[in-house]
Symmetry: C2
DNA sequence: TGCGTAATGTAATGTTATAACGTAGCAATC
DNA sequence: GATTGCTACGTTATAACATTACATTACGCA
């Protein structure tokens, strides 16, 4: 069927996988333009939207950036821990926490469809560096 | 001391309080410009940053918008439930959930400094409307 | 009063995201 | 095999969000 866009999606995913830190949409675009100089932002955003929908990519809302999903499946219960020093992101599955959140919010009748859970701080290795002078 | 900026902060906070739905920084700016036509984006962003730091305002990261904090104190454990239909936001304090998250992330050595917890979905009244034809 | 410093104003620019609209490819029906 | 309609895709422009850089002002204090 739609081979054009799917190729874009594959390429975008490959670019995101190469990095361990998140990339902005425009960084991805810059990479894509090495092969396709005229590619437009819209194309990237469409590919990213499709990849997010498929659970292959996460958007880091507090960073306006994107990262390939590392954990096995489309985990809609991911907690993303973002190191503000090195920029690396760790994914943790936390279905119980998500469950607890839904329950809590549900008390007032709110029905959650998706969630954003992001922690900002320092990863283990950056924390260690700080101590040693 | 710094009466100029503090006045801006008061005005921004008053504008945010008047709305129950979140406002973007530029919406706030537009309001402020009714009295001060030359006001610049920077001024708004500085005021918002100060208000956020003081725990008087929340930034909705998944929306790039801002809302006045309703619950009593600077709650750094707030869960924000955003209705995608009417735009209204509900704040819920959830210290236990935040604690659980910190613990979970801490297992790998990550040290959280702040967190973003947002739920997207439908509030009770929008949910009800949907059922009745 | 004059100096140092911190807060504020101002202009320009950078970055992120979407709207609007036209086109291409494909499938179904006739 | 033309016509029609659907959906994905390309293209351009622009909207929306945010920050940098530097000038200016206010204020405490010697």
């Amino acid at each position: 069927m739609n081979t054009r866009g799917q190729q874009v999606q594959r390429d975008v995913l490959a670019i995101l996988r190469r990095e361990r830190a998140p990339l902005s949409a425009y960084k991805v675009l810059a990479e894509m333009r090495r092969a396709t100089p005229k590619m437009a932002p819209t194309t990237i955003y469409r590919a990213l939207a499709a990849l997010i929908k498929a659970g292959r990519v996460h958007k880091l809302e507090s960073l306006n950036a994107f990262i390939a999903c590392r954990s096995g499946k489309q985990d809609h219960s991911a907690v993303l821990s973002i190191c503000d020093e090195c920029g690396q992101v760790e994914e943790t599955a936390a279905p119980e926490v998500v469950e607890a959140l839904s329950t809590l919010a549900g008390r007032s009748g709110f029905r959650p469809v998706r969630h954003v859970i992001e922690l900002r701080g320092q990863c283990a290795s950056c924390e260690n560096e700080e101590v040693s002078p």
